[in-house]
Symmetry: C2
Subunit: 248 residues, 2 copies
Amino acid sequence: MNNTYFTRRTIRKYEPRDIDGNLLERLLTAGTRTSTTGNMQVYSIIVTRDPEMKKLLAPAHFNQPMITQAPVVLTFCADFNRFNLWCRQRDAEPGYDNFLSFMTAATDALLAAQTICNAAEEEGLGICYLGTAIYNADKIIGVLSLPPGVVPVTTVTMGWPAEIPEQPDRLPLEAVVHYERYHDFTPGLIDELYQPREARKDSQQFISENNKATLAQVFTDIRYKKADNEYFSEKYLEVIRNQGFLFQ
Amino acid sequence: MNNTYFTRRTIRKYEPRDIDGNLLERLLTAGTRTSTTGNMQVYSIIVTRDPEMKKLLAPAHFNQPMITQAPVVLTFCADFNRFNLWCRQRDAEPGYDNFLSFMTAATDALLAAQTICNAAEEEGLGICYLGTAIYNADKIIGVLSLPPGVVPVTTVTMGWPAEIPEQPDRLPLEAVVHYERYHDFTPGLIDELYQPREARKDSQQFISENNKATLAQVFTDIRYKKADNEYFSEKYLEVIRNQGFLFQ
């Protein structure tokens, strides 16, 4: 397999030069060859290249600079709209206004997204995923004119890298991979898995900058707080409901 | 980019020979380099190679033969268990018992899954996604001993191809890709996008075998029925709740 899988890092700064239209189309075509449930292709990709549209999208992504700096922004959506229209036009009554169908469509969207990212990185492009697509899905729906049946699940910014950041550490394989049965984690194993990360200079700096006692507290108290998670959970469930996926 | 993206097809029949352990480990390592929210790596991969475990898993996948025939079965899970344990062990109170955190973790799991599939296909392996991981997540939790905080989101079977099926048709790019704003679909565009698929011999056969009037009816009345979707929606929401992601 190509080496990009192992050398990749998220890229947040991009050269001003554009992504060639043919290359972009090849990447999107690669994406559409990805596995999809029952060949339904229940997802859509909204391509943003227009600087004015990027400006409109930026607030939904908390004005992270990648949105306006990247030549291409891709919003991946769970999408039963097209499929439902086809069904109704063919004397078939769609039954996809439920949570399972949302998960099916979200899965389709995310798998296609990752194929496009892998293919893009193989071409030397850099990408960054933005979880804000979920946080502010309601705003994105407005800006991109998404009809009922369509819910943003992730956003990717893409461009030619203008930085080579240090590759982030990952936990040892043992933290993620389980053979045959889930091996739960003893306190000793948790220490063993996380201590190398906690000992890193950047982690130590992160802790002191944020006035915290442990690296975990930076996550729970600053980066991914309970109150925020609960607020955005409610909001996203409301979006899923409003877009027609929780009607039962 | 490598050509596999364009030539791939889902493989459901595998040669009896195993996948070398080093190759599998490289694939899993590639997976762990995939983008993950805040470098939290809130997912896990359960590797099933033991024939006895495959037999136990098979009913959860409606006994589709891929489960027992494939040398390797991978169950990808949204997983906040490890992260929560780490937080509690470091005087940090995790706030991840909510729907947003489930989506975050499910996204991590699905992106890693697709990287592993892309890398595997580049090596000549064949893969098949099984949506039944969601349908019968409760059973899988039992077989694989998944603790609270862990929810299966997809399963992949993997092995050396023993078939070269025809590559399935995909809709034209226009069906999936929208530039700048979502272009909704007129009845004329729906016809244009779907008629080539409907005219295929295999589609016609599919319709007549199932005693239906249209291809869409095969989906709505046979393959992905409203009643089933609603049943499995309830069941999966219950699993997500039981595993600790809908506590608010």
